[in-house]
């Protein structure tokens, strides 16, 4: 605690208390005129303000001049610690997870391409969730009609999933080998006949045979 031998003259001390309270309680910085109206007995308001400023100097709260007016403000270096970032664990929806995977594997990819690949329109907010998570980012426009925006992954994406780089993502064959690529043997027999027709545009009814995942 400070042991500044303050001159305990009652008047200046009381004036400083009042000044302190007025500045604290006011919603806006108080002008010199406003302060003078409240402290008519103070001869040297400037000196009193400087004294109060010195008292708070280096503290968590500082007395600052804003033009002709004065106010208390929390010290700027502490601002970041006033607001708490509260972690909130969330799950990613299945749709968002799939879109994330498509962006990761097919980047740079446009929204229309994602929709075409999944056979359904991208619902509002799915990309937003990934943007908010900091995992996808715009990667410039494609030089095709309409100049659509393309999307790709961020370093934070690599960081979150513990990937060194994008080529660390396992390929389709590796996924198949690890059992993660889930397809039914009976269907593969038919599909083998039309292996070369991969690039056909898909109509809306293509979902009929697929599993309905509730999207």
């Amino acid at each position: 605690m400070s042991e500044e031998a303050e001159v305990a003259v009652p008047d200046p001390f009381e004036a400083e208390r009042l000044l302190e309270a007025v500045l604290f309680a006011s919603a806006e910085p108080v002008s010199l005129a406003g302060l003078r109206a409240r402290l008519p007995e103070v001869a040297d308001l400037g000196a009193l303000l400087e004294s109060l400023r010195a008292r708070y100097s280096g503290r968590g709260v500082e007395l600052v001049a804003r033009g002709d007016a004065w106010a208390f403000r929390t010290a700027p270096d502490l601002a970041a610690r006033l607001h708490l970032e509260v972690p909130q664990t969330r799950k990613l929806s299945r749709a968002a997870l799939e879109v994330m995977a498509i962006v990761a594997y097919h980047q740079p990819v446009t929204r229309a391409e994602i929709e075409e690949m999944r056979g359904v329109a991208l619902s509002r907010g799915t990309l937003d969730v990934l943007l908010e998570a900091g995992w996808v980012r715009p990667m410039g426009r494609r030089q095709t009609p309409g100049r659509p925006m393309t999307w790709g992954t961020t370093p934070a994406f690599l960081d979150h999933f513990g990937l060194e780089n994008l080529s660390a993502l396992p390929g389709v064959e590796e996924l198949k080998a690890s059992g993660l690529l889930d397809s039914r043997p009976a269907m593969i027999a038919y599909a083998a006949q039309s292996e070369d027709e991969l690039e056909l545009p898909l109509g809306d009814d293509t979902l009929l045979l697929g599993e309905d995942d509730g999207e």
Partner: protein, 262 residues
């Protein structure tokens, strides 16, 4: 009990000759009979613990009687209280009965005094509270709060496995989709109906079903679908009476058809 300064100094009520008159003037301002009793009690200007309940009861009864004489509207609970106080008064004046089931008059009076004292204490406590330096009246909070925010920072519970599983599922679904394209090459019943309706006109005699199949049957799946569709079309045209259909040799024997003769 001497050290209860806060609750012993009674508010000064203007000393009037007749407190009842004052009460009658303000009959609307009272919150029920207890409120009236408390006001009358304060007029006795003693500690409520030493109050004369008998005197209080008499004053109250006078108040009610006077109100009725002047045709002032008084609520039923004032009358109930009057009846009860009249009863209490009689109990107080009669000698106490030993072994009585009910509380004695003195006990009832003491309980009423307690009731009045307790309410009076609360009334004074309310005044003491409202007389404190109150926030926003005499004491002030920070006028320009900078605020403390709890920023929700989502942390997603998603592992690489989930991501890869999602991509695997997506790829798997894409594979099934290829099957759909393949299905489009099947021979449809509509096609079979059109072809059969056209060809049957020229078939006067019995013909095997296979004669009506479309060309290009190299693909076994396509051939099977053409066979099935043509058979369904034949059944449909038979039902419509446009075609006659026969199978002479039991299951799997040739199916023949011709233009309906009827």
């Amino acid at each position: 009990m001497a050290d209860r300064p806060t609750f012993d100094d009674w508010d000064e009520i203007a000393p009037t000759a007749d407190a009842v008159d004052v009460l009658l003037l303000d009959i609307e301002g009272y919150e029920g009979p207890i409120d009236v009793l408390l006001t009358l009690a304060r007029d006795q200007k003693v500690d409520l613990r030493q109050i004369s309940i008998l005197q209080l009861a008499e004053q109250y009864l006078r108040f009610v009687a006077e109100a009725r004489r002047r045709n002032l509207e008084i609520a039923a609970d004032y009358l109930v209280m009057a009846a009860w106080l009249a009863y209490l008064k009689s109990r107080l004046l009669l000698p106490a009965q030993p072994d009585a089931e009910e509380p004695s008059g003195a006990e009832m009076a003491a309980a009423l005094a307690f009731q009045l004292e307790r309410l009076d204490a609360m009334r004074k406590a309310g005044e003491a509270l409202i007389g404190r330096p109150r926030l926003g009246e005499q004491v002030f909070a920070r006028g320009a709060p900078e605020g403390l925010r709890d920023i929700a920072k989502p942390v997603y519970d998603v592992r690489l496995y989930d991501l890869l599983a999602a991509y695997g599922a997506f790829q798997g679904r894409k594979t099934e989709v290829r099957l759909e394209i393949h299905e489009a090459k099947l021979y449809s019943v509509d096609e079979a109906l059109a072809r059969l309706s056209y060809l049957i006109g020229a078939a006067a005699d019995w013909q095997k079903l296979e004669a009506f199949l479309p060309p290009g049957l190299a693909d076994p799946l396509y051939r099977r679908s053409a066979m099935g569709a043509t058979f369904v079309a034949a059944l449909e045209l038979t039902r419509q009476g446009k075609v006659d259909l026969r199978q002479d040799g039991g299951p799997f024997s040739p199916i023949r058809l011709r233009k309906a003769t009827r």
